[in-house]
Symmetry: C2
Subunit: 696 residues, 2 copies
Amino acid sequence: MLNYFFNPESVCLIGASTNPEKLGFKILKNIIDGGYKGKIFPVNPKAEQILNLKCYKNVSEIPYFIELAIVAIPSDFVCEVVEELGKKCVKGVIIISAGFKETGEEGKKKEEKLKEIIKKYNMRVIGPNCLGVIDTKNKLNASFAFEMPQSGKISFITQSGALGTAILDWSMKENVGFSKFVSFGNKVDVSEIDLIEELENDPDTNVILLYLESITDGRKFIDLTKRVIQKKPIILIKSGKTESGSKSAISHTGSLSGSDIAFNAAIKKSGIIRANTVEELFDYALIFSYQPVLKGNRICVITNAGGPSVMTVDMIEEKGLNLAKFSLQTIENLKSFLPPASNINNPIDVLGDAKADRYEKVIEEVIFDDNVDGIIVILTPQITTQIRETAEIIARISKKCEKSVVACFMGGKRVEEGINILKQNKIPNYFSPERCVISLKAMDDYRKFKEKVIKGKYIEFKVEKEKVREKIENFKNQKISIIGDIEGREILSFYGINTITSFLAKNQEECEKFLEENKGVFVMKVVSPDIIHKTEAGGIKLGIRTAKQAKQAFEEIINSSIKYKPDARIIGVQIQEMVEKGVEVIIGVNKDIQFGHLIMFGLGGIYVELLKDVSFRIAPLTDIDVDEMINEIKTLRILKGFRNMPACDIDAIKETILRVSQLVCDFPEIKEMDINPIIVKEKDSIVVDVRFVFDF
Amino acid sequence: MLNYFFNPESVCLIGASTNPEKLGFKILKNIIDGGYKGKIFPVNPKAEQILNLKCYKNVSEIPYFIELAIVAIPSDFVCEVVEELGKKCVKGVIIISAGFKETGEEGKKKEEKLKEIIKKYNMRVIGPNCLGVIDTKNKLNASFAFEMPQSGKISFITQSGALGTAILDWSMKENVGFSKFVSFGNKVDVSEIDLIEELENDPDTNVILLYLESITDGRKFIDLTKRVIQKKPIILIKSGKTESGSKSAISHTGSLSGSDIAFNAAIKKSGIIRANTVEELFDYALIFSYQPVLKGNRICVITNAGGPSVMTVDMIEEKGLNLAKFSLQTIENLKSFLPPASNINNPIDVLGDAKADRYEKVIEEVIFDDNVDGIIVILTPQITTQIRETAEIIARISKKCEKSVVACFMGGKRVEEGINILKQNKIPNYFSPERCVISLKAMDDYRKFKEKVIKGKYIEFKVEKEKVREKIENFKNQKISIIGDIEGREILSFYGINTITSFLAKNQEECEKFLEENKGVFVMKVVSPDIIHKTEAGGIKLGIRTAKQAKQAFEEIINSSIKYKPDARIIGVQIQEMVEKGVEVIIGVNKDIQFGHLIMFGLGGIYVELLKDVSFRIAPLTDIDVDEMINEIKTLRILKGFRNMPACDIDAIKETILRVSQLVCDFPEIKEMDINPIIVKEKDSIVVDVRFVFDF
């Protein structure tokens, strides 16, 4: 769809310059030096010729159809030129020029105007304020990057040009090749969404690297990336833990769910690998572009030194990977040739005097063991260590088998040659054993993500959606945006969520009637805006079981309330089911501006307030999402029956969370919601209180 | 003290070899190539001459006093040779040979024998199973390392030879110089303790790097390092989170305090900087050896790219450093020359088109601002960026002022030249902004550690030590190793710790007498090994205030207990003070084999059991230790008055912890102890229950 940005038939450069110091010169030189095969038209009213190419006074003078235009002129003149390009039916425009919304109000206006022009001519624009576009396969370097990167299977799209230059420079040193590189700057038109879509089916892209500072459309981003990661991994680094998106939140959930939480929940939904640091971004880029994805998490460690292997094993455990357990055959074979002092079990210590042949035999042995999914080879440069030869052996054997192999050649000067051989052969080498493990872990996460996205089921419960719609319409008409208590519970009931029974009785007859119709044990409470301390006012009666008790309680409550505060406005008496003891749980919802409904789960009371021990996911939730949410909280053991407490009905919680997900997806006008508490018992769970905040 | 290992007058090498493949050749060559100025005596019964040096048949043949001997012969012959060396009054021996306790039982025996010989001749031995010793100042390379490292101010002592080779190799590439390097292997004699002591006052060592797998003497290690870090930083990496040192622990505390916890508590006590990964070890080595220690934690960030600076700021906040706030003068000056689009506030964005001069002016400006303690300079290789020149400027300006400056030149190929200039000028350059921050953080930790160790006060309370001694002697004589309840509380009372009053009454008269002597509200409980469900047996009475009530309660309890279980053995009735509500806290002690008494603090009940929200320190505790312990727990807010609860008397907890520290230091026979719970109220705290485990 955006093919003309990467493989255009013809390119024109507005702002081509004869001055080697100017971007307009540098870009033209890059296009030529890159080896671009199409037609090139420099535009500069003052020059006759630049770098041996004929120069045009303006766009309309170019006697040829232009597929891609690159604009590198001061921002004041950009709109005018883009209008001209529109008239000439140019498909794609890359605006290198800075001076737009990144500079303040004045620039923002220019960018708005630009947007209008783009719309008018139905063209696609990358930038402004960007480094440009590179496609190594088509040999197009439409950027002012320092040089053309090597070709390879990673595509990198970045919101920051500066970080782009750093990564391109890194790639030159690390022998990493790129397929496409796009710096998209202010994204006046083309955004990360368009570019990911473009890369989704690009046969030249195996891995997508993404640097983002902001997200254009959160929902679309999730839906798109969820689909794309089934085909190729997406590795993301996002700078800036942005502030809470909902500072004015009314609910607990709202106040707990800042937008970085929403973002992380989105990541979990989509299956993107998030790098936390620039270093991780590079590390992940290496392993994903060099090695096949892990098929399981059973790792074998081979080492010629004890210390580093202990660190590796510690990290493997910490990160939740597993040490492979070899087959009996493998162990027997290893025993047959390793010196007696070697450790045969994983990690395999080939000892300090190991030469390349010992490494070779061991790797040959374990790589074909079905119990091994990935291999870490550690080498310290000891006196007899054959560094180059060992690197060559790793390179050779790893090609025989579709398993991930990473290396950790520890040191500096002497190991350099070996590391270069590894690089050339697409074996990632990491500086420390810990980084080997973290990179394998990212692969394992990717594998699990893919599975999860496929296996997760959306369950649709039979609910009374129309009744809820009617109620919400009513609130909207009455301009009521916060509701709780009886009406809130009614909405939940319509969605099949078990709530306590309650009723606001206005007189004794209503009490009588309610008790005749409902069985159970009830508490009765005076409802009055003027009585805060209900117990003091004699406004509460417990343990009501019969109609007669209810009638009497009503009378007593009213009388003593009036006596307590003669001028109190009394609305009635609330009759509410008494709930057996159980564990208090909270289920909350907050609507994030970017990603939509964020659902929260945790234990109630101090667990949520003090320990903030809660988990978040973005709706709609699958069964797997809910399982994860429940398993993520640290206080899970309380639900599973801590000390002498019985285990809670976790299935009931799961179902409630799924029903909440269905409810909020059906009604986007729900802005916040706190089900707090929901009491979970040995069998079943029941909502005691709920509050909704609507955004009409 | 160990000077002869580093600057010997004469050296002999047992096992010198003519075969360039052998260690005995390599070591000799290293000694010669290193430029050693003293006398060298190769020993080999079969050779006349090696590398132009006369060879001796055996040690006794050498016609000269030997200060240092290096042994590189098969392990079977080592003891014999060391005995000879002893006879020749050799002061220091480095045993390179492997084949000792690291290989199993047989080797262990050899090592034991070796130990005896060493003792007999009062000589000092490094090794066996090690790489050797290097001293760059004295040009002694008594090792089989690949080559002599550069000279510098870091000394590195390592238990692993393999990791040693990796670090030496790294140093050659990174332009890092070493003063002394010691691989001490199995530490049959010379241990990390001896070596740290040696380096403490070594004028050629500014930073001590330490790689450990095991610790020889935990207490001594703490005391020594605590002293040494006042003079120079110690950076440690320890491999292997070893297993719980007390699997069979009886107490809560015992089961929670594995030996890695003890080790971390030791680190906190001593002020060592612990590197968690090899990479961190290297990163810290760079900053500590290159830069002055931070005097405060106010960091200034200078950058030519937005994205990386956001990441840096996030990390600064996460790690608890501060972004410096510039003086008004600085801001005014910056405004006067920076382009309008630059960000003048910290982080300072010099913009993508910044050349070296703009970096220069900015660094010149901020480095002299008194509100700045450290500077991070970020550079991305943009088109007009002057990489080399900027590196030179950083190097030059940083020398003008005693402030820590670190750089992050991001990229690979193009930034390489700049990075090399930084290296040559001792400006640490890190691959990612995050690592800059983490390294500065380590410096800030060191600064705080130093202060803490000096400022922390040991408080000695007036206690009745003799009475406790008497009691403990009694238990010992009676072979009682677990005590609790009344006797446990009595011990605490002798140390001025407030405990509930209680008394075991055998008859009505005793009840009467106790109530006459003690004011308060009491609970009375039957004490019988045969009655478990005391309430059911009618064996509990609450709210006893008077002697009369007590007498009556005694009678009723005895009667109904006999009725409940006629054959029950009844020991008496316990009269125990009833405690008002408060927060339940636990204070525990566990004696670690290595480090001694480990004191634990946390909130009781589920907080300790489920959330394991506890903190540890090693006794004796200072007031600062205790402050830290209390501030470390996540549930601190509960103590400070959560929701409508009043704040607890935290000072009372502190004092109790300090008194516990004094108690366990006075009585090393205390193996474990759980004060659980101690109830903390608005004013004061009181111990309800305690259990001691003694190790007689």
